[in-house]
């Protein structure tokens, strides 16, 4: 069941270059939302910004949920200026929960702000699996939630394209040696489309679950706006069949 209700902003923090973290207090959705699922946020006081902005849930804690997002346009800019006490109109949980494995060697692989949704997932997966994290970004200021990942007790490999932190290079390059030494690894990946594309060859060797983004109308399955091409023809409806999809199922 999808809920729609008002949440209250309890904390806004700048956590990187143009990257913000917001904790929202809202009981119904935050109790139900599972790793991989997302919420739809109506940008307050901006009736001209019609549609909800979809954001993956980065963590939940006692009737609160957290989103971490990058400012890319008018909506995210407005949301980043929120203050403690502001009320947000949100709907959720949207999408399917990410499939959870057990007794596996798991690598979570995040590109930029894509690390955020993997955090909640990692917290849950780590109870029943061995988990390591490979997190990359263009530069150090765009790496998010690194200390939180470390606090979970998972091993974290860092990469940046400009070498300002961790290994210099792409997150996908750092992933390969990590996976090579693992037996039947399972990868959960979240990041820009280019990163997911670079992971495609890997999906022949390992199971790769990827978090996808597509422009959405409703987020609830009624408008058929969020199409993702399937390998065997036709389209997935990302807000129903995803957003976490097996990488070998779709065409990138």
């Amino acid at each position: 069941m999808i809920n729609w209700s008002m949440g209250q902003v309890v904390e806004v923090a700048r956590v990187g270059a143009e990257i913000y973290s917001v904790w929202i207090s809202e009981r119904k959705i935050s109790r139900k939302v599972k790793p991989g699922q997302f919420i739809g946020v109506k940008v307050p006081e901006r009736d001209d910004l019609l549609l909800r902005r979809p954001f993956s849930v980065a963590d939940v804690k006692g009737g609160k949920m957290r989103i971490v997002f990058r400012v890319v346009g008018a909506g995210t800019a407005k949301l980043a200026h929120s203050k403690k006490g502001d009320r947000w109109d949100i709907i959720g949980p949207l999408g399917k929960p990410a499939p959870l494995v057990q007794n596996k060697s798991v690598v979570v692989c995040g590109g930029g702000v894509g690390a955020a949704p993997l955090f909640y997932l990692t917290r849950v997966l780590k109870e029943k699996n061995r988990v390591v994290a490979v997190l990359g970004a263009r530069r150090a200021a765009e790496l998010v939630m690194v200390s939180e990942f470390r606090q979970l007790g998972v091993k974290v490999y860092l990469t940046t394209e400009d070498g300002s932190k961790g290994i210099r290079g792409l997150v996908t390059e750092a992933l390969e040696p990590v996976i090579k030494v693992m037996e039947k690894p399972v990868v959960y990946a979240c990041g820009p489309e280019g990163m997911l594309k670079a992971l495609c060859p890997l999906s022949r060797k390992a199971k790769v679950w990827a978090f996808f983004e597509e422009r959405m109308g409703c987020g609830t399955g009624v408008c058929y706006g969020c199409a993702l091409p399937k390998k065997d023809g036709g389209y997935l409806r990302l807000c129903q069949d995803g957003p976490v999809v097996s990488l070998d199922e779709v065409v990138l």
Binding site: D48, G225, A227
Partner: protein, 302 residues
């Protein structure tokens, strides 16, 4: 007052319907559907359609441009899998039909004639399919021909959905009326092109259709114009989001209204319109819809 509106033999408990393409097939949010005046399903074709490549939907200033391209499972799957679910919807269900040929409209109509759906809405106005679609709706002769052919094959409530793209909808509405339509509905989305930062079309379908608050004043203009041109009931839509919006369409002459894009923002978007209209009816002391319907020309009143 009672909010009920009756057209032909169909009783709509209130004048607010969910518009085609914005409320799934009608059963997805049952608790909402059951309190609406009616629901219009996603456009249905004979064969399954995969729809257009992504992106299919993009926000513009106070509006939305879509190029979904009529993705739907086809009429057989509709009958087998969707229709049983629609039995649980308490309000009248109108099936929106799309086709590239007159014969296909006829075939769809015949296939649905023995099903319990309350009525049919012929989409002669979809901008997102190459064959048929809006082309039919731009030609009054085609509108008349197709409507007449479908009319012969159905005793159900027959609504013809008109376009306002490059045609005077008063002409096509008269054609639909002459051919036996029970009502006309308008407007469908307006032709739209969205370019990205490099000047390339952003939508996978290249062009799309504009909806939402951005089109409301034009939609209202069209609805008033058509309501003055025909005697059959007019179903108005285009950017309706509030009770006040719906009230304005009724003042312009609409018997029923449909809520589209507002359903994408909130699953109960159409229900909010019902609630606000009901409150307005009470506080303003209307006795029946006749108190306000089509009275936009008569100066100030409340």
């Amino acid at each position: 007052m009672t909010l009920e509106v009756v057209i032909r033999d169909v009783k709509f408990p209130n004048p607010v319907l969910a518009a085609s393409g914005t409320f799934g097939f009608g059963w997805e949010f049952l608790a909402v559907a059951n309190r609406l005046g009616g629901v219009v399903t996603k456009g249905l074709t004979i064969a399954p359609r995969a729809g257009n490549p992504p992106p299919r939907i993009v926000e513009t200033a106070s509006g939305v441009v879509n190029s979904v391209g009529l993705e739907n499972p086809g009429v057989e799957v509709f009958k087998r899998e969707i229709l049983p679910r629609l039995q649980r919807v308490k309000c009248p269900v109108i099936v929106n039909l799309a086709a590239g040929k007159e014969e296909e409209f006829c075939e769809l109509t015949e296939t649905l004639e023995q099903t319990p759906v309350a009525g049919l809405e012929l989409n002669l106005s979809c901008p997102n399919v190459k064959e048929g679609g809006v082309v039919f709706g731009q030609d009054a002769l085609q509108v008349e021909k197709i409507t007449r052919a479908v009319r012969k094959r159905t005793g159900k409530l027959l609504i013809v959905k008109l376009t306002a793209n490059f045609v005077d909808p008063a002409d096509t509405a008269k054609a639909a009326e002459a051919a036996g339509a029970d009502a006309v509905s308008l407007i469908n989305t307006l032709f739209a092109l969205v370019l990205d930062q490099e000047g390339k079309p952003l939508l996978g379908g290249r062009t799309g259709g504009l909806s939402g608050p951005a089109i409301k004043p034009f939609a209202l203009f069209c609805v008033e114009r058509v309501a003055r041109a025909v005697k059959i009931p007019v179903i108005g839509m285009g950017g309706i989001k509030t009770g006040q919006d719906a009230f304005e369409f009724i003042c312009a002459g609409a018997h029923l209204i449909q809520v589209g894009t507002a359903n994408l923002v909130k699953p109960d978007g159409a229900l909010e319109v019902v609630k606000e209209l009901r409150r307005m009816a009470r506080t303003r002391g209307w006795q029946s819809w006749d108190d306000i319907r089509g009275k936009a020309g008569e100066g100030r009143f409340s």
